[in-house]
Symmetry: C2
Subunit: 348 residues, 2 copies
DNA sequence: AGTTCTGCTGCAAACGTTTGTAGTCGCATG
DNA sequence: CATGCGACTACAAACGTTTGCAGCAGAACT
């Protein structure tokens, strides 16, 4: 029923190939002819069928974007940035949600494979080998995890975690809990590694609680464990968990930051919503979305360019972190992270 | 480079049509042959090319989902529900974000038109005529707005607004502000209509502030106007604005609900995050997502079934609404909405 | 034995585009 | 005047599927 290129050809008295070129290679066709064609097309309400075009060119001008949980406030800014960046390059973004499930993740990549030119895989829960395998089906750019041989964009959460721990130590905290994230998350491993190292270096003790689902409920659920651990400060895997923890502590009458300091990671919109406002590590999510789109698109033209982009993070000090029981130095508020912070070696 | 149906045919010694049937019409092919074919396909890592299939069948097994703002916590539950519901029926959902822009909205529908079997248009900002026009390009189901002649699923926000106003009146409030939403929003008009009527019926005064962007910032920005209006209670277009308003009032030292009561709409996750926790109108977003998918899918088989699905809303009383200056009756907390509440006539 | 039926498979056309090749025309060049 | 060229356009073959139709066995009727 909808008009095809053939109808337009008939209506304007030229061959279909001329119509095709009138759209996709204007310089190859006489301006006058082209005007005719375009007018006829407009008249008929013709829209090129992208499926047919994709069939022959092999490019769909779509890119897939897979996230673990669209309801996690970490993702929307990344999605929006990727979308508008892609739209500027005449690409459309199809978002899909895996529910934090590695199985669904694989299924989605496979399903998307033939209808997009590439997939942005955000915070994958699959194994590296699984991911490598999938990359043979469709060009992949991984976000929030380096995968050997694949283009990836990661945030330097190791630096963020280190800054957070140093911040807490400088406030006098000597016993710190790390509220771990989901298993399978590279970010989680990075944070644990860096936080452990930073704590040891500073002479503080770090107790790791987890792995946990990266949700508010899960943060609340760990409140007991945190109290039992007898720490004076907590670094959480993300803002969501930090918020859940603060809530649960509040319910138990434990004051933040007076009795326990809490630091989050991500600097989502939520972090300004808590009472007290959350000290957290800001991750450049929008920049990550744009960078991932760029890598995917140039990955088509050029082969294997920069394989790994690392974006810097930053500590944002608000009100949920305060002096610890052992007052030592305490340079206090408004600390800026060192600009020349060492980028983490991003292996695995 | 990737294996095609022809490679599989060659490898298993049958004709391509047999391979095709082995996948899409198993009962038409001998079980033994089929096993052979499937084995060969597996061996070659064959994946059917959906673009090619779509070209001939006319069905892509994809559905588009367009939302105004993916960062608005109202949408993720709807998106997730639609996604998992669709996945159960072997459909994939492509989500796109319009940034609350009617122009982008139209562009996206057009772009999606040829690569999906239908589009779910959530909270459209376009005009009805624009929408009707687009519905000739691609099957449409509209969410959060009835459009004559098109299938739609709406929430009975009118009832919700009425319940909210009655709740406030019963607490003794006589002067109530309505913090309006974005222009072009049907929901906004419904709320205003119902709230105005309910206030008049109950002998209260309703002052309308707006239209406003449906954001937290916008809610905060209206704090001055609310105070100037001299009201004792506010009904906001959505939770986001209610939250922003509460924040701004808090900053000015105005106590909620002691000095001003605030009621939101949507019952997003945010509403449990505020201090005090937000009284709000719960909208069944997940159910709406599922219903919309159902309508779109059956719209294909059967022609024009139920054109309009209306989902009930419910008042959730928490802590941001309290006694007003004129104490009258005050049945108070834990009020349940009447089950047999009259559904609003949902025109335009 | 002839006929119809059933179960399976092959053939080939179609879906709506793109694109390499070849053709036409007029015009300038040698 | 033949040749070459440039600008344009037509032709036709692809891309990877699906599907109506026809063919062909063998089984089951009459």
């Amino acid at each position: 029923m909808p008009a095809t290129i053939r109808d337009v050809a008939k209506a304007s008295g030229v061959h279909v190939s001329t119509v095709s070129r009138a759209f996709s290679a204007p310089q190859l066709v006489n301006a006058e002819t082209r005007a005719h064609v375009l007018a006829a097309a407009e008249e008929l309400g013709y829209r090129p069928n992208r499926a047919a075009r994709a069939l022959i060119t092999g490019r769909t001008h779509n890119i897939g974007l897979i996230v673990a949980d669209i309801a996690n406030p970490f993702f929307p800014p990344l999605i929006k940035a990727a979308e508008s960046h892609a739209r500027g390059r005449d690409y459309h973004v199809f978002v899909a949600d895996t529910n934090e499930d590695a199985g669904v993740e694989e299924e989605l990549v496979l399903a998307l494979a033939k209808q997009v030119d590439g997939v942005l895989l955000c915070s994958p829960r699959m194994s590296n080998t699984q991911i490598e395998q999938l990359s043979r089906e469709v060009p992949l750019v991984v976000v929030n995890r380096p995968v050997p041989g694949l283009p990836a964009v990661v945030m330097d959460v190791a630096q963020g975690a280190r800054l957070a721990v140093e911040h807490l130590v400088s406030l006098g905290h000597r016993e710190i809990a790390l509220l771990g994230g989901p298993r399978g998350s590279w970010t989680n491993r990075e944070i644990r590694r860096a936080a452990t190292l930073a704590a040891r270096t500073a002479g503080a003790e770090l107790v790791v609680l987890g792995p946990n689902a990266p949700t508010e409920e899960s943060g609340s659920a760990q409140a007991e464990a945190v109290l039992r651990a007898g720490v004076s400060a907590v670094l959480a895997y993300n803002d969501l968990m930090a918020v859940g923890l603060i809530d649960a502590l509040d319910h138990r009458g434990v004051k933040v930051p007076d009795q326990i300091s809490v630091v989050g990671i991500d600097d989502t919109a939520l972090s300004r919503r808590t009472r007290p406002m959350l000290t957290t590590v800001a991750t450049p999510t929008a920049a990550a979305g744009r960078a991932a789109v760029d890598m995917l698109l140039q990955h088509g033209d050029d082969r294997r360019t920069t394989a790994l982009v690392t974006l810097q993070t930053e500590l944002v000090i608000r009100d949920s972190s305060g002096p610890g029981p052992h007052r030592t130095a305490g340079p206090g508020r408004r600390q800026q992270p060192p600009v020349d912070g060492v980028a983490s070696e991003s292996r695995e």
